[in-house]
Assembly symmetry: D2
Homo-oligomer: 144 residues x 4
């Protein structure tokens, strides 16, 4: 992933389930955090986008879960954005283990925990699809 | 609790944590569901209140946890509203086990799982406190 | 979807986001509820499966979001299971609007809100893949 | 709060509700994160406690909400632990705004957003109350 953005986060207790691992639904907000920070790193924030009347709505979500994340693990999420049409963005994600919360460091040498793709459509305040803001298309186009 | 309203709900897998019990944060949305349905039973809905420009904002939350709720348990939540000032409502809740998800029916004879209190302040669209709508004050006053 | 199982649920306030619609992550626990109830309808529960030392772990999740769900909407989720290998189940879901929380009944004539697919692998207590229990393979095979 | 521990976190989009502010239930996991990091700062982790067969179960939660937290806000949570009996810990929390996600820096001069108290009881793997581990009682006693 060239020019990808990376975040780290620690798995919360309440994000884990009776199997003792992160519940599969917990990954979905983590992906959102990753693309939010990727946007911030490009110089503007999603909060600013919304304040200007432009919204990004998720239309597609795909996650492949390979290995469990555990309580107190530090995860690294690598996120790369690309243009998927005049009004659409695609993000691809790789979720990796950065630090094992249970101290079992051999888990660090494993494959990624998960990979994911999302698609977002740009809409106005009335919910109608609209072209990506020029600055966003340029930022993402430049990294793609 | 005279004239209290009761709901039932089933504990979701994702609401439970690595201890195998419902995470303590999971109870908070359940309380909200209980007071939402108590309001609906009185003839209007919270969605209608918001559509009319009046909002209820939680200012205080107190929960005493006594026994664990478990995955697939059916819980019964008894909720009673009262007036707590011109712009304030108080709700009191009792969370009981209605059906044991693990089939351990002796758990049914136990005490309540939790009790709770919330206070809500009525605000307008700008976030300024405003008197409870007359119909709401009357409905709650009549049950208190 | 022949022999599909259907559940209904009401969208919680805390499941909605600042756009005023259900957050896309909120759909993921709903899918889990749908397949849980489909299993229960077949005569055994997932809680019983876990008590017998057999677990179902999500390995794949795909959701296509078409229209927003809103606070207080009643949703109908249609879920159909199929065999996807000796140790794997696939579920397909259609999320529909059963009752509009905002009273805008014209929304009822719209297309489904979302469709989804999940894949689950059967594992033992040590996390090793194992064949689906015979009763489960038979129940799902019979409906597929 | 002498010797209190402080964390910072950013409010997630999915933690906010249709009023455009953090849902009141979202604060509860944040408190848990604060006391988790306070414990880590003392030299051991809650994950290690559980691995040694000792668990901390929340028995009481009180939150007073004063001002809203908003999407993308950076919050500062100050947490102080104290001994509340042979088997009990009490934590007190103050949630402050560290950075306004919407750029409205005048919000920074406001009062704390919320204050909270939790009580936790120490239990063994069977769920029976047991004395706090000596190291924990010493660490907390020293800061109280």
């Amino acid at each position: 992933m060239p020019q990808a953005h990376t975040i780290e986060l620690r798995v919360r207790y309440c994000e884990c389930d009776p199997m003792g691992v992160a519940h599969h639904a917990s990954f979905v907000p983590w992906l959102e955090m990753a693309r939010t920070e990727a946007l911030r790193a490009s110089g503007r924030t999603y909060a600013q986008m919304e304040a200007s009347g432009v919204y990004l709505v998720v239309t597609k979500l795909e996650v492949a879960y390979r290995r469990p994340a555990r309580y107190d693990d530090v995860l690294r999420i690598v996120c790369e954005a690309s243009i998927a049409g005049r009004a659409r963005l695609r993000h691809q994600y790789r979720v990796e283990l950065a630090q094992a919360g249970d101290g079992k460091d051999q888990r660090l040498h494993d494959q990624p925990l998960a990979s994911a793709t999302t698609e977002l459509v740009c809409v106005d305040a009335a919910g109608r699809p609209c072209p990506l803001p020029t600055w966003l298309a340029e930022v993402v186009g430049a990294t793609a």
